[in-house]
Point group: C2
Chain length 111, copies 2
DNA sequence: ATTTCACGAAACCATTCGGTTGCACTTGAC
DNA sequence: GTCAAGTGCAACCGAATGGTTTCGTGAAAT
């Protein structure tokens, strides 16, 4: 029942929806036109995304515009941060290794 | 059947496994000790992670060490990039808005 | 007031998921 | 060679997932 942002982005259709409304809010019908599934199926995805607060609905007459809550994306970014640190330090290690190899080459050339 | 990195990180146990072996490779048994599920359940998660190439096994005698393939994490980072651009530009817009409001305040004070 | 449109909710279905138990295989120890 | 340790795999199970179809509701249009 309890869903989080990671489950929200696990489904490719939901990622596509996120990408679609990233720049401008859209109604369920407009969104559904971009997929070959039913409007109701899209509606389900929207509900899940809204539950996770990745998107936010705003009513306008009889239409509902869904807008991306970009701050939720930052949560993923924050989670990634710990691994970013690792791969950056790996790069440094690689740099060190490369310069060591260069140094070694020089030494060998001298022989 | 076809799984991607986003499905791999959707499960909390798998995220915990990733965090666990991020700094040093570990064997399935050692990993399983950190969870209250069976070794086989962990083994299943490892298989999924390996399928997605998030982790890489390396045999040592009769033990298998699983190591995080940190480059796979970058894929998520690359996907996030498009949204990072958006939230950064939103900040700029917010800055603009704030300075406009300040300007407006000044105008009103004059009246 | 009646009809139409935009949408959500419910019921149902096939598939997948995450877990367990039991078994098979390979490797190191005796 | 025999035994134990470390591991993967298959079968099974209940719950969740993603989809469809049908129905209900509120707002706009007629």
């Amino acid at each position: 029942m309890k869903r989080d942002i990671f489950q929200a982005i696990a489904d490719p259709t939901r990622r596509a929806i996120i990408a679609l409304i990233a720049l401008q809010a859209m109604t369920p019908n407009a969104i559904a036109e971009h997929f070959d599934t039913s409007r109701q199926a899209v509606s389900k995805h929207l509900r899940i995304l809204a539950e996770c607060e990745v998107i936010k609905p705003s009513r306008e007459g009889r239409e509902i515009y869904y807008q991306l809550e970009i701050s939720k994306m930052k949560e993923i970014d924050e989670w990634l941060e710990q691994y970013r640190k690792i791969w950056e330090s790996r790069y440094e290690q690689l740099d060190t290794l490369l310069s060591e190899l260069k140094q070694q080459e020089k030494q060998e050339r001298k022989i």
